[in-house]
Symmetry: C2
Subunit: 414 residues, 2 copies
Amino acid sequence: MALIVQKFGGTSVGTVERIENVADRIGLFRKHGDDIVVVVSAMSGETNRLVKLAHSIDEKPEAREYDVLLSTGEQVTIALLSMALNKRGIKARSYTGTQVHILTDSTHNKARILSIEEKKMRTDLNEGRVIVVAGFQGVDEFGNITTLGRGGSDTTAVALAAALKADECQIYTDVDGVYTTDPRVVPEARRLDKITFEEMLEMASLGSKVLQIRAVEFAGKYNVPLRVLSSFDEPSFDDGDDAANGTLITYEEDEMEQALISGIAFNRDEAKLTILGVPDKPGVAYSILGPVGDSNVEIDMIIQNISADGTTDFTFTVHRNDFTQAKEVLRQVADELGAREVVGDDKIVKISLVGVGMRSHAGIASKMFKTLAEEGININMISTSEIKISVVVDEKYLELGVRTLHSAFGLEQN
Amino acid sequence: MALIVQKFGGTSVGTVERIENVADRIGLFRKHGDDIVVVVSAMSGETNRLVKLAHSIDEKPEAREYDVLLSTGEQVTIALLSMALNKRGIKARSYTGTQVHILTDSTHNKARILSIEEKKMRTDLNEGRVIVVAGFQGVDEFGNITTLGRGGSDTTAVALAAALKADECQIYTDVDGVYTTDPRVVPEARRLDKITFEEMLEMASLGSKVLQIRAVEFAGKYNVPLRVLSSFDEPSFDDGDDAANGTLITYEEDEMEQALISGIAFNRDEAKLTILGVPDKPGVAYSILGPVGDSNVEIDMIIQNISADGTTDFTFTVHRNDFTQAKEVLRQVADELGAREVVGDDKIVKISLVGVGMRSHAGIASKMFKTLAEEGININMISTSEIKISVVVDEKYLELGVRTLHSAFGLEQN
């Protein structure tokens, strides 16, 4: 008997039939004696339909009203799932973000959760009810509806699990866990039974789209045991490394021995920009990145080369969609700073080795570079952190690079 | 310069283009200097889509969750209309029933409004904002979402007008006012410039589907000047009996002289049931109607014939959809009471003359009966109130009856 928060994404509740399946699954957990809080997304396609409606009125719809609109998507799902549960004799009650008082700041379209009122939910749980909460949405201190941004339902689930001190937060997706890399690129990719929060954070931020990065941060901060699993497998009530148990995201301290490398993440959506011959003086990084950030372009990797002849070269990567806009801004900055030139490339990808084990082991980086060199893959940029090494290469080398590294580090073996 | 509450139904906001039209219309009123509170329904088709979703899960979906589901329809419209207004530089802010705190009782699916918090709205109006409120929905004292039942958006508009002491509540529809009868039945039917609340109440309850009956009651109770007009006509800022001014629903006291008859209402959806040979003793009416009411069947006309030989006959009418169910209940009642027989007819209609003037004029009833008799129309049941006379006739006589009465009482003349 445990208190479990379960999150089902848009695909898992995409049709009435799938909503019925989710209700059946919850029924099995109730029979097993567990208390269940469910978080659901909008039915797949619904958010896009609403976005299209908004954009047919205004290309840049007012942020507050956009949230009022989008939040209806999840509201439909909570009502339908609660109906399906009640029909099965499973007592259930739905709550919008406003009703369960998921208090956020007032940053519409990407609000942050500040607190959650648990009293109402505790009463419902004590009375034997399943609680069905709309993901992705909250309410600010003035009563305005806010949304957490795309994928925010994961964050809602983790925040609820933290507030209720749940035994586990289960994120149901269409894959059965976290893999050493994308199986579509490397068929030998292996499902991980466990991965640390820090590794998961790096995997998520690098484009393994299983979990939303903010959700992982949140789970780490509040020590919420998080599990990624498939909504298509029968639930398993046994412990062990059954596929039905997906991947458990744990704290590093739990494990005595860590694999050197847990997985290989990659990101196809990168583009790089370089500003050449910038006069090298204090504050130059801010003069360059400030205007880019102000234009709402998110910057990923940043590299500044050692200064020679009083000028420096400055390179960073952005999302491929933002390439043109960022280049525009950078040209203006170059003029203002008296820089020589702006060059860019939107045909690049990033490949990253991730693993907490690499902290205490030298030689991972050099093995990585050697492996790539042997395949004739030229490295454009390198960036490292304590538990990851990322390289930027030409996009045509993505599959070859990932496959070669996967094999060189023996990731297909358990 | 006035404070006007405007309500637009599902057809008037049925597409993005129509929502843009509504925004343009509001812009004209703003230019004229009026403060505007708008109430909108769900886009036409949307409520049916949601109802279908619910019924594909459960034929009798849980009432609380049904309201959570249906209320999203209006929420979509308020967001889209507010976006359209803001795009035009008209400051606007949307509110759900919960946000503007339209407090109702807890009767899900047909809740009643108890109070409305006007403070927030007053602040917005003072700051020059158009307020866009979701019709049809409210919130109970526990924070549960409630709905007022179909057509409840009219009631929302009137309740807001009452709370804000608005100068006028305008109900926009696809017709340009209230007619002496349905123009599809009598082409000579004439639009009324004014009608009293009491007459409107009778017209509405008898099937003139222009306004929701509860909205009219509400308007009468709180002295809210109510106007029915077309969302397809250009707005008129002149007084007078311009068609663009629709029909104003007034208090009787305003007019020195009343027309004898204002209009003819009819209802095609009636069915009648008779229980014959009921032992006549105190409480018999309740023993019969109690069980029918308990099965959620609404009863319209009731007639009990004078008792002879210690038994009585008891006849009432119900909505045609409830005929089978009501007959079932009545059969059981008949057994319990030792009544002789239950008979029924679901091929009947009701025709009613409505007019406050008939109070002080005898002879209206006899003229009505004579007119029908001359056309060979047999009257099944008669029921009268201070300002209306209703007859039940075979459904095949509906058009003939209405046309003949319209002409006999000179309703086509102004």
